[in-house]
């Protein structure tokens, strides 16, 4: 007998959206979340406003969380993780355990140690983590200088409406962003573009100019990748309305001069080397597969690509199918994604999973009642 339960691993934007939609179909969804709270990276990393529509991230995530929680056919297991998986499409048997997350347990509780879920299909929505700038091959000194921060650090300050020079606690006069930190880099091994950092840096640049109007903001970039409406919704306003200065040329080194930082690079379009003082340097760190994505891929036996994201073998026309039939992927677990793509992918994965479990139930029903052999999906 095949199960109509759909197991969703990850309680971030993709997992919550998939759960909500499966619930809306009247089908059972179980969301397994390693942390003790839902909302994924936008909540965990204290995002301020969403790119590209500037909506308050916490408010938007709370809406998703509320929709999933309110759904009577959606069950949520916090502080829980998947430890083993057997079976095949229609009849996966997945064991859960209390997660090793130190923060877990406090208000988790819903997870039952040793629980086994019988699922007809699985959606992996385990997301990404920010690149650790300690691994960058330039000389940015993230762990050396207080005033060198990442996009995530900047989000946290912007969320509190208190963007300051960390070492001084006062509003900065000059801030710069360095793009493509940990992305598009053969030295590091991350040859891909992380897709969202150009937009997020530009969004943050606007927010800094709004919060600290006297502050000059520079963005040092290789290419600005502002596809579709990000162009006119973020990039142009940043340049034209907020006078953010975009300079094509990547900083090679950050040094300290007195109590200020100095960034060294080339202004390539002006054809001149530059050495510019900055109060705060924001590293636009890219996306890497989260620990959860890497662990879950191993446990479920999913093929990973060379960057350890979950491989999507049928690419363009079937972006949610993994190498294992019956297991689907949504969001940044399959590679860098913006929120729009993540949500669309979550909807597609929910649809594929629901369709598969229903098809399997119908074919089992026919099989049991007619002795006709029906083909199980490959």
């Amino acid at each position: 007998m095949s199960s109509d339960t759909i197991l969703i691993i990850g309680g971030g934007p993709a997992g919550l959206e998939a759960a909500r939609l499966i619930g809306d179909l009247g089908q059972r969804a179980v969301v397994v979340e390693k942390r003790d709270a839902l909302g994924g990276t936008p909540i965990y990393e204290h995002y301020a406003a969403l790119t590209h529509n500037f909506r308050d991230a916490e408010e938007a995530m709370n809406e998703l969380i509320a929709a999933a929680k309110a759904n009577p056919t959606v069950d949520i297991r916090l502080s829980s993780e998947v430890v083993s998986c057997s079976g095949a499409a229609g009849d996966f048997r997945v064991k859960l355990a209390k997660s090793g997350n130190p923060a877990a347990g406090a208000n988790g509780g819903a997870g039952v140690a040793g629980e086994e879920i019988n699922a007809g299909a699985i959606i992996v929505a385990t997301g990404f983590q920010h690149f650790d700038p300690g691994r960058e091959t330039q000389m940015y000194g993230y762990y050396e200088y207080d005033d060198v921060i990442t996009l995530a650090d900047a989000e946290r300050m912007l969320k509190e409406n208190k963007f300051v020079t960390p070492s001084k606690g006062t509003p900065p006069q000059r801030v710069c962003f360095i793009q493509c930190v940990g992305s598009r880099d053969r030295q590091i091994g991350n040859e891909y573009c992380s897709k969202v950092c150009c937009g997020i840096s530009s969004k943050q640049a606007i927010e800094i100019r709004q919060q600290v109007p006297d502050c000059k903001v520079f963005i040092f970039y290789i290419d600005m990748r502002m596809y579709g409406y990000w162009e006119n919704e973020i990039y142009w306003p940043a340049q034209e309305k907020y006078r953010v200065q975009y300079v094509k040329g990547i900083i090679t080194e950050i040094i300290r001069k007195g109590d200020r930082l100095v960034v060294r690079g080339e202004d390539t379009t002006m054809g001149r080397p530059m050495e510019v003082p900055m109060d705060v340097v924001v590293l636009a760190v890219g996306m890497e597969p989260s620990r959860g994505t890497k662990d879950v891929a191993k446990i479920l036996g999913l093929k990973q690509n060379k960057y350890n994201f979950i491989e999507v073998p049928h690419g363009g026309l079937d972006p949610t199918a993994t190498s294992v039939p019956g297991i689907f992927v949504a969001g940044a677990a399959a590679g860098p994604k913006d929120l729009d793509d993540t949500m669309a992918m979550a909807g597609a994965a929910a649809m594929k999973a629901a369709a598969l479990t229903r098809k399997l139930q119908i074919s089992n029903f026919k099989f049991q009642n007619s002795n006709f052999k029906t083909q199980t999906p490959a």
Partner: protein
């Protein structure tokens, strides 16, 4: 403070900033510069860029970045290399680097920058002609030896200039001291425009001598027509 070494460190930053504020205050400025992709289409279209170390892109960039030192440098060294043809207006962001240059030049002239005076020195004779007579270069400027690069026929033509001009069908061209005959009413209107729009003040800033001569010429005609200067 800009991104680069300052080429004019002796000029106070506040002075550079004052000039830049004048540029930004020009009502045309917001529609001449939005933001710059640094794509270079303006340079590709620019005839001056083929002959000089000149880049309309860098003008747009410096302005977009509000790099005050660099703008001051350009206001002195670059803007006079532009031929004001506005081929750069094909910008996908709808910028007009040539328009920004127009404003930069006007601010340079209005503030009597030394570089502006030098750049315009060679033009005083032409300005005198245009503003004095209301017409452009006149036939009698075609002296036998003035433009050897125009070829040997110049000598031939200049010898009998009056006759040649009378051979031209429109009667208004039967003149050698002006490009064409200018109606008194027209010249008076031109003089009034130049006085009332600040052009005469600009001339005074860059070339005092020229301003004096022009003023004399204009004063006489204007007074004849009943206007007080």
């Amino acid at each position: 403070m800009g991104l680069f070494a300052d080429k004019y460190p002796d000029v106070a930053y506040q002075e550079k900033e004052r000039l830049w504020e004048q540029v930004k205050a020009d009502p045309r400025y917001p529609s001449y510069l939005y933001g710059c992709y640094e794509c270079g289409i303006c340079v590709a279209a620019c005839p001056s860029a083929r002959f000089y170390d000149f880049s309309p892109r860098k003008i747009a960039q410096a302005a977009a970045r509000e790099d005050i030192d660099l703008i001051y440098e350009q206001m002195n060294d670059d803007v006079w290399n532009c031929s004001q043809c506005f081929s750069c207006n094909r910008c996908p962001r709808q910028n007009s680097p040539g328009g920004v240059i127009t404003i930069l030049r006007e601010v340079a002239v209005k503030n009597g920058l030394k570089s502006a005076k030098q750049a315009l020195e060679g033009y005083s004779r032409i300005i005198y002609k245009i503003m004095g007579t209301g017409t452009q270069v006149s036939p009698d400027m075609l002296q036998p030896d003035a433009f050897p690069d125009w070829g040997p026929q110049v000598r031939e033509v200049s010898a009998d200039l009056e006759l040649w001009r009378r051979a031209l069908p429109p009667e208004t061209l039967h003149t050698t001291s002006t490009g064409w005959q200018v109606d008194d009413k027209t010249i008076i209107e031109l003089y009034l425009i130049w006085h009332n729009t600040g052009v005469m003040d600009m001339i005074a800033e860059v070339d005092e001598g020229l301003h004096m001569i022009l003023n004399d010429v204009m004063e006489e005609k204007l007074e004849e027509a009943g206007y007080e200067v």
